[in-house]
Symmetry: C2
């Protein structure tokens, strides 16, 4: 017992001394370990944009417009707790520079608005009350703050250090700092190392990162999608130091690697996903009520994103009254119930995938704008690559290992995305209308599932028993446009206890 | 202990002596008690029609056409057992007169066909093997048998008595006899009383009935839909004696009564529902693979039909190979798993309905062919009455008792039914495309569910927590035709243990 205690304090001391910079590693550090354990958080976009039907604003929106009629941060965090989230990630300041707390360093904040509640405090307090952790988003890019325009970038860095000192000293423990908007100036001009050191001084276990953490070529701002990063030690830090990788709202490959380079050294970095609960890509809540993602898609994305020591944050934004909408709360609480989430248990995992990179043959391969969308995309472990059929009546066959069984099939249909007039919102339009899943049994195709409902955002077919086969076929029987599929996952899911 | 044993034998003796006719009663008799306990059966339509793409045939189809390539009645019954059915109801002879067993009294049977397997025996044996009960369907109407055309109706009655004697003596215990096609001659010309007596001689616990059991006026063949029969002692036997009511494939009202009249006496009669697993009304299997009903609709219909001491039979017909199709087997097995069916437990029940006959107000009431479809239809306990909106953007409000809670909402959308060219098959076409469920809270509407997926055959909204409200609203946000709804059920569902 004594030895353990001593070891613990040594580790703590070591981490404390060294935590102010990031060390080369092949294993998670203190902050990363805590982050991996958390795994599942609720993103809360709330601010002056909420009241102006916009995603981004330029720092000139009048303070009087921030005016929630029934502000209730307790309800936000209670919803997060009820839904099984382990932390909330609150916007404290977005690109517009509006601060959700009473900051000494600006008047563009809640304290100068009609509703003066310190939202950061209210959320931090509710997190303590409900026993979940508190994380903050802070925008590097600031379209309001005058020092931002100063020729000397250190002026604005000092502004940030001052504000972050307020945040890290007045609101209890903060488990994560999410920095955004770095594209607006050169990476080295933000003073990320100073920010990192400051934060670690307050809390060595706080995980820090900047959106678009990783680049493909040093100093070039060339990017490779996270779904393509299947190799260690091939990509580089754009912002150093960062404890984890971000690329909002991209999804990782199932073969996600963790080693990234900085000045010739290799560092361990998990990935944190950020997705919207809404089917449309909407971060700040809109006056219109928008549909939420299907629970099946949410469940499969949960597994996909929290697997392999990565984590997932789902955006559930409060509306203009200052509350999370009831039907959105119901969606995440229902998801948590379906997943059986509990703070007392580790996050649940998906079953075993038996489909990755198996030989695939399609009835045809479509070409769009000179690019051919090959069949092999459907089981490459990437949700953003896709097969495109050549005909609306199409099929695709996958060879499987007949000694491996499966009882669940998740199909991510590629859907057309239409951008709406606000420049941010999107809707998804499905193509496939009727379809079957067939397996080869004794030389004949046998249909194990026949569907005439739309596939939705993700079609999950749960079979009541396990199958084994040498070949599986997905057949489109009716479609309104050329069928296209991102991924077909063949999974062996353990029975629930 | 002794007293119980004596009482049991007295009951048995009493029932045996009197079972050969039906007695006036307000409680179930021996056969009815056993039937109510069974509750859930699998209908098996299989015969010469299976091989001729038809629902009915006239008795002239060539025997050579009955030719299953891979006949496997064991698989049928194993599927039934795996799905939690407590009995199978096998077609032994349909209107075409083709017999699924080797009958001494006709050559129009399996024994004279290319595949001579005695299907009745194979199914009866499999039922013993898998521990479920065996019931038979036998058509009164016979379009093949020469004696049927004899002026003396007793000639054909004798044929039936002979065949039923074969069935009841050679295949072990038969729990139910389902007679059909009675419309083809006068009720008194079938010799139903002789059939009933014969069957009861072999097995007093066998439940016997004739399709379209009940009429509205004695001897007139006027019918009232089962969904309208909410009064005891108002309707009459068309076929006497019958142990239960049938009207294929109609659904009962939630306020189903049990007392029916015959010659001034009142008799107790439960109802047995028969529905198709297929979304289309297809009894015999077709070459084309047809989609099955959504699992949510099956679950809600299960509850609706097995509630109140009635029972449900789902048709799962084998195909031309002689097997139940895998995807159809998966559908019923998946349903059984979802319901948690087990031979060791009573059938599960739905939660408490808090919506019936509450005051309803619609945004408008549509008129079709001079008939107006009133709002009150949506909570009258009948799945075949309906409200029709006056505009595609419509809403309907229901007053509720705010002291009663609910956590599930089942909505049966009325769908247009298109008859296909075969004269039997139907497809259903939904209308509603986007919708919300709102409740009145502190004088404001609050959306608790927002859907943009089609409502399907039955939309079941499972809320993660219980609500109470004085008023609930269903609002149609988008529809392709005037929305119409059969029933909205507001239910308080106990949590699963």
């Amino acid at each position: 017992m004594k030895k353990t205690v001593i070891a613990f304090f040594l580790t703590l001391a070591f981490n404390y001394c060294w935590a102010q910079t990031l060390l080369p590693a092949t294993q998670p550090n203190l902050a990363q370990k805590a982050m991996i354990k958390r795994g599942y958080g609720m993103f809360i976009h709330f601010g002056i944009n909420t009241f102006n039907e916009t995603e981004w604003s330029d720092g000139t929106l009048p303070l009087s417009s921030y005016n929630p009629s029934n502000l209730n941060p307790d309800q936000w965090v209670k919803t997060a707790r009820d839904a099984g989230f382990r932390y909330v990630l609150l916007i404290t300041k977005h690109h517009d520079g509006f601060c959700l707390w009473d900051s000494k360093y600006t008047d563009y904040d809640v304290a100068s608005s009609p509703v003066k509640t310190d939202v950061v405090k209210a959320v931090a307090d509710a997190c303590k009350k409900y026993g979940i952790q508190f994380a903050i988003y802070y925008s590097l890019w600031d379209r309001h703050e005058p020092s931002y325009k100063d020729k000397d970038p250190q002026k604005y860095t000092n502004y940030m250090l001052n504000q972050l000192t307020e945040l890290f000293t007045n609101y209890g423990n903060i488990c994560e700092l999410w920095l955004d908007g770095g594209w607006d100036r050169k990476p080295q001009d933000w003073g990320i190392d100073q920010v990192y050191k400051l934060v670690k001084k307050f809390n060595p276990a706080c995980a820090v990162s900047v959106n678009h953490t990783i680049e493909s070529t040093v100093g070039k701002r060339n990017f490779t999608l996270p779904s393509n990063m299947t190799e260690d030690n091939k990509y580089f830090f754009q912002y150093f130091p960062s404890d984890f990788r971000l690329w909002d709202p991209m999804l990782i490959t199932k073969f996600d690697k963790k080693q990234y380079l900085h000045e010739g050294q290799s560092y361990y970095l998990p990935f944190e996903h950020t997705i919207c609960l809404s089917k449309r890509l909407n971060w700040f809540q809109k006056a219109a009520q928008l549909p939420v993602r299907d629970i099946d898609e949410l469940e499969e994305l949960f597994y996909w994103c929290t697997d392999n020591d990565n984590s997932l944050v789902i955006n559930v934004p409060p509306d203009q009254t200052g509350r999370i909408r009831e039907y959105e709360a119901n969606a995440v609480i229902g998801l948590g119930k379906k997943l059986g989430l509990s703070l007392k248990k580790p996050l649940p995992a998906n079953g075993k995938f038996i489909s990755f990179n198996r030989l695939v043959t399609a009835s045809g391969v479509g070409i769009e704008k000179g690019k051919s969308f090959e069949a092999s995309a459907i089981n490459d472990g990437k949700l953003d690559s896709r097969w495109l059929a050549k005909d609306t009546l199409a099929s695709i066959e996958m060879e499987l290992d007949p000694t491996q069984s499966f009882n669940k099939i998740s199909i991510f249909e590629y859907q057309d995305t239409k951008k709406l007039s606000d420049g941010f919102s999107q809707i998804r339009v499905p193509r496939i209308q009727q379809y079957s899943v067939d397996i080869m049994q004794n030389g004949k195709w046998q249909t194990i599932y026949l569907g005439d409902e739309p596939m939705g955002d993700c079609k999950v077919i749960r079979l009541p028993s396990r199958y084994q086969t040498s070949k599986l076929r997905f057949k489109v029987l009716k479609a309104s446009a050329l069928p296209s599929i991102n991924e077909i996952c063949i999974i062996d899911m353990p029975e629930k206890g």
